[in-house]
Amino acid sequence: MTPIEAPLVRVLADDGSYAPSADAERYLPLIDALTDAELEQFYRDMVVIRAIDTQATNLQRQGQLALWPPSRGQEAAQVGSARAARAHDTLFPSYREHAVTRIRGVDPVDILKVMRGTSHGGWNPTDPQNGNTRIYTLVLGSQTLHAAGYAMGLAFDGRTGTGDPERDEAVVVYYGDGASSQGDVHEAMVFAASYDAPVLFFLQNNHWAISVPVETQSKVPLVSRGAGYGIPSVRVDGNDVLASYAVSRTLLDEARSGLGPRAVEAVTYRMGAHTTSDDPTKYRGSDEEQRWAQRDPIARMRAFLEGRGAPASLFQETDAEAADAAEDLRSRAITLTSPERSLIFDHVYSDPHPLMAEQKTWLNDYEASFEGGAR
């Protein structure tokens, strides 16, 4: 069985028509309960983040950023899962979760700080305005252990499993098909299962780990790995925002109720490069890209909304909002300045450290030794 052939939860067909798969049955009440405003919000989220993503890609091409990992094509998996999380949940992204972070309140400019070289973090995850969203992690799979440990802490502190979903907390951790080969992901699943930690492992199978296809990561559908750890797992069409939302919501509520970890394999596709540093034409064919373009998550949701009679003004307004967000990003990103040089020393340790003080003093004296006080 190749990965694409396993059962899949899907609500919308490729053309946007409402056509739930057999496996979608149990999730349909959640989708039926969505209001027009919520459905429109899903669409807006996807369109705006795509515009931001395109703008960031352009900024990199123009030399304003060292790197950009595009999220084009993966909007539905990210928007569905992020909208499914509750405000008090904690999210651990990898480095491509631009839609997730934006929905949680992180300013996209803060992501650009990482890519522009003005910060290794970008935002403060303990600031409530960032929606309990941890900073990006570049080492593949590392964050799955942090998420499992954080969720263990929630369980130990009785902040989950009380039976009150308005209060019970849970964790979502994002990783990809490439990261799924990392030992840390395996260990995270072992720990999460052993301690009934309320964590949703959200794997976005975008089919390519830079140039290596998912078939090299796994001979079985990635969703099937969860069973080996005793983690109930669901495979969802990651280009279907409704299915992604409903599955994530359901599994997250199960996890927070004390049933232990849950896992999702969201089957999606990275339509762009891994990062702006690689060239997808070297490793995959345009026929494949064309095939996936037919499953574009935004076009699909737009067709669905049009089928429900959404007014043309909705799409015009959304496009205008997206253009504004992209322009705002550009104007603020290019004015980001280098941080103070004290950033090098100030946060290596939390408590005072003599070597940091000594080297900071040396550098200041050295800089001051030049005529005019600076080089």
Partner: protein, 326 residues
């Protein structure tokens, strides 16, 4: 003042117990540390007394232990990890050096990482491969980590508590060959700061410097040297990162000679760093080059050869003689 005589293993146990009583956010994690009390019994009875949510017998996965401890620290806990043996820390190396050590820096100070990693380390117990190593230089080379090693029961009792109180990650290296060495523990004394080095024996001719298990060997060497008419001062470094150079430099300035002894291979080691710094800062006080006595730059040998590999008092005395010959 309450003074009790006990081996280092019991002192560590008492220190952990005290830290857990003082702060309910302290929790212990590791392989076999609960019901068994650890393979060296350092955590004996702690699970019985504090429960299995404060003393966790974890799955057998070192990266998992460190990585989940990071998550627990993010959730407000102060995890104290046991890595069962020195040579088994490497599966967790990425989580320690790429994550634990850097998270405060990456968060620009918004986050502290109060995680202690206890590692029984070093040779002299006749163990098999991967059970006798001295990995301290890997960690002292990593910004963001603090690295310490006690040499006596009293220091072990106090330093483990200080390490747990630290808001930074601490690699806590326990000299396992000294676990059974007894000493007086002052249970109510005020602690020497975690990062202070300490003169443990006064002398006038040569300064002997080392850390962990080697401090005892240095004291043996100093006693033998005294019988031959040479007076050695002995300094216990205690903290390998950061190093407290004050007492070391004071001593070298008074004796003019220094020998550093360690079990670890000498190349790019803690002894190398301290020797270089002493030469930079006390060059005109030196009567001889700073000499290093260390393990060889080889893998730790099979146990029947460890007596040949590890520096002993005779090897230290040979270096003392060389220093005096300049």
């Amino acid at each position: 003042m309450t003074i009790e005589t006990m081996p280092m293993s019991r002192a560590l146990n008492a220190g952990l117990r005290k830290a857990m009583e003082d702060d309910p956010r302290v929790l212990l994690m590791g392989e076999d540390i609960g019901r068994l009390g650890g393979v060296f019994r350092i955590t004996e009875h702690l699970q019985r007394d504090f429960g299995d949510r404060r003393v966790l017998d974890t799955p057998l996965a070192e990266s998992g232990i460190v990585g989940t401890a990071i998550g627990l620290a993010m959730a407000g806990f102060r995890p104290v990890i046991e890595i069962q043996f020195d040579g088994f820390v490497f599966p967790a190396f990425d989580q320690i050096t790429s994550q634990l050590a850097k998270l405060t820096n990456r968060h620009e100070g918004a986050l502290s990482m109060p995680v202690v990693i206890r590692i029984p380390y070093g040779g002299h117990i006749g163990a098999v491969e991967h059970h006798q190593e001295s990995p301290e230089a890997y960690f002292t080379h990593t910004p963001g980590l603090r690295v310490v090693s006690p040499s006596t029961p009293n220091d072990a009792y106090w330093m483990i508590q200080e390490a747990i109180r630290s808001n930074d990650p601490v690699i806590f290296l326990e000299p396992k060959s000294r676990y059974w060495q007894k000493g007086e523990v002052e249970l109510e004394a005020s602690a020497l700061p975690l990062h202070a080095s300490r003169i443990v024996r006064r002398g006038t001719d040569v300064t002997l410097v080392g850390h962990g298990a080697m401090v005892t060997t240095l004291l043996q060497a100093a006693a033998l040297a005294e019988a031959e008419g040479t007076s050695c001062e002995v300094v216990d470094v205690r903290s390998l990162s950061p190093v407290d150079y004050g007492p070391i430099l004071d001593s070298v300035r008074s004796t003019g000679r220094m020998v550093y002894a360690q079990e670890a291979p000498g190349h790019t080691s803690v002894g190398s760093e301290i020797a270089a710094t002493v030469m930079e800062r006390a060059f005109y006080a030196l009567e001889a080059p700073v000499l290093r006595v260390s393990g060889f730059d080889t893998p730790f040998p099979p146990a029947k050869l460890e007596g040949t590999y590890l520096p002993d008092a005779d090897r230290i005395l040979e270096a003392v003689d060389r220093s005096l010959a300049y």
